[in-house]
Amino acid sequence: MSADDPFEAIKQTFFLECEELLTDLEASVTALTFGDGDGETINAAFRAIHSIKGGAGAFGLEDLVRFAHVFETFMDELRSGRKACDDTAIRAMLHASDVLADHVSFARGLIPSMDEERSATVANDLRALMNGAGPAPLPAAAPEPSAPAGTTDEIEAAFGFKPVMFNLDALPEDAAMVPEGWTISFKPHVRLYETGNEPALLLRELARLGPCTVTLHAEALAPFADLHETAAGLSWTIELDAPVEKTAIQEIFEFVEDECDLVIAPKGGALDTPDVGDVDIAALLAAATAPASDPVVPAAADVDIQALLAAAQAPLVPPIQSAGEAPTTAPQTPTKAPAATAAAAPATSAGTQASIRVDLDRIDKLINVVGELVIQQAMLAQSVAECGLTASSTVKVGLEDLEQLSREIQDSVMAIRAQPVKSVFQRMPRLVREVAEMTGKQVRLVTEGEATEVDKTVVDRLAEPITHMIRNAIDHGLEDSEGRAAAGKPKEGTIRLAALHRSGRIVIEVSDDGRGINRERVRKIAIDRGLIAADANLTNEETDNLIFLPGFSTADTVSDISGRGVGMDVVRRSIQQLGGRISIASTPGKGSVFTMSLPLTLAVLDGMVVRAGGQTLLSPLPSIIESFTPREGDLHRIGARDWVIRFRDRFLPLIDTAKVLGFSPPDRGEINGKDGIAIVVENEGGSQVALWVDDIQGQRQVVIKSLETNYRKVEGISAATILGDGRVALILDIDALVVLGRQQANHADFKIAS
């Protein structure tokens, strides 16, 4: 795809919109699943499908249009109440929204092939539901132009969709306000054909309302030689001789209201009625001039009656012909009213637009520049400090203001990239459905904290670990129906997916109400695989965390869903790469909670500047619990190499940072407990260790620069930054450092397989 191709660019925008629309659709369907939906929810779903269909038509995505049309028609049945929104209907909607998403993904080239069979099956299901539950087609009240019954079916089959049925019984008894007939002027645009719609069907639907006299206008038709095969030159005037409500006519054109010029006006006589001043008539006229898309009749008080009358009269000026007359002599009936309303519609929608789309690259560039600005400003501040100016000097005051401003810029830029995790969470209901179907379990997904915001870079990389954890929770965590019944639990298992902010990090929790971790089995497998020694003494927490070890699988049978022994290992690694950590809390018989905590951004970091082995290092602030200068006697040596430190009446393992990272010469003396500071940090499992450093220099926010991109991966180091004095400081990867420390200590009974 070429970035220069404007058509391709518009198409990409369409796909972005599709993504949002599918998200809306998913939200609506999910709400309906939980019984939270009302008429507006169904309307929202309908609108989402309608918009996707409209856009797809413009890009000639025929399969997508065809499927969306069926789905849309189905939603319309629900919306109008002709079909009850029961469990069967909701299940059909769930399947249909999945297939619709697949169609979009396929059109976008994200998936290599489209499961046509499934699409056809789901479409047929929708049709079957509509036919089964809807009222039987009304006997054609208009004998003259209507087609024989057999042909109706054939044409419906040929065009691949069913017309919408109308219930004439729903007409009000009191028809005093309903005119005796209507004059409908209808001119399809090219898009009407492109979106798979067909005037033939619309005309037939009109004929069902009552006797119609259809006049064809072919004057605007291009000469045959110039006639593009998808041109739209024909238009029709239909005189409907039936006292039906206007909405019945509008409903017929509902699907195509944006793709045609349409004027529906009461039949000629209505205008001659003397009581024009009557509010009802005025409202009726207002409705006649309003675009068909607007079912709400504007308040009579708000409209200029004179202007409305003029507009409403316009379509009635040309003489109406009978069907038998030659069309070539028919005067043209283009009316100004529809053109004006069509032009007005986009203007209103543009007015409500409150956001713009910006290429992510541009924001990244901005963030990079702001990062440089912050560094430069820190360097300047340091130089000024070295000049020994007084605190009241204008330079210093100005610099402080500058500092505040640059901090503000930085925060604002980060806020631009902040996105709610909703986009990721919304993909999960479908996953849950599919996995539940595959495993034959009944699962209900509950999500919380969808509005929690996190940096775009983090959002993008959340989907994979969450997907994995949910699969695991359903496949391994939840019992099957019999198992749940035996345990006295409701048949339907619950998976809870929650996001929240906690101390400057985002925490994602995936919990299930399943059987919990079988520690006996986990322990046995770990011993069998040689991951731990047979006599290792592990806490419950340590045992639970064994499932994160590479090559560990607890499933008795390897399923397609999860359990190839790569699952949780991969999850942990991808979370660690994001600077996050994952832990598990499990209660046998009650379920498990997986908690992952991630930094809010991957661009800046609050850290503690420390020195170890003569090097300046940065320890991420969120992992630091406390720092203190130990008293003599707080340090104890265990065995030949290991040290522990007393901290609040407990002993914590002590890691010599300089030594583990290889900064200190091997002949350097041992930790002596005098020239140094201990920093207590928490690792991914929630257990604490102390890091031994030479001294602490201060706390500051730094801009993260990738070490891997610029140099290579360094064990125990997550990234680098540039300090105010222009020097590079390495950012510690606490978890990796702890593991490294353990490896070097060659711990006897807790070998790490990797």
Binding site: P148, T151, F159, A200, L216, L221, F224, A231, L234
Partner: protein
């Protein structure tokens, strides 16, 4: 006179095909066989109407012969000129 058999489904999808076929017969009298037609859509209708006008303009015969019942019914439903369907309507 060349006889062109109209496809069974004269919908939006077959419109390009019909247009191309007629385009290829532009300088000769044409008779369209409508006996197989099962459905007729707006796109094909306008191609047929435009073609009729073009052929008539060149004083060439253009007629739709033996239209099927379905074709006649849909033709009428569109309010299209009935004489075009009649076998006698082939001469201007």
């Amino acid at each position: 006179m060349t006889v062109y058999h109209l496809p069974a489904n004269l919908d939006t999808r077959t419109a390009p095909q019909v247009h191309a076929a007629l385009n290829g017969l532009e300088d000769q009298p044409v008779s369209l066989d409508g006996s197989q037609v099962e459905s007729l859509g707006g796109q094909c209708l306008q191609i047929l109407l435009a073609a009729h006008a073009a052929w008539t303009h060149r004083n060439l015969a253009f007629a739709i012969q033996s239209p099927s019942e379905a074709l006649c019914a849909q033709w009428a439903a569109f309010g299209a000129p009935a004489d075009l369907l009649s076998p006698l309507g082939d001469t201007p």
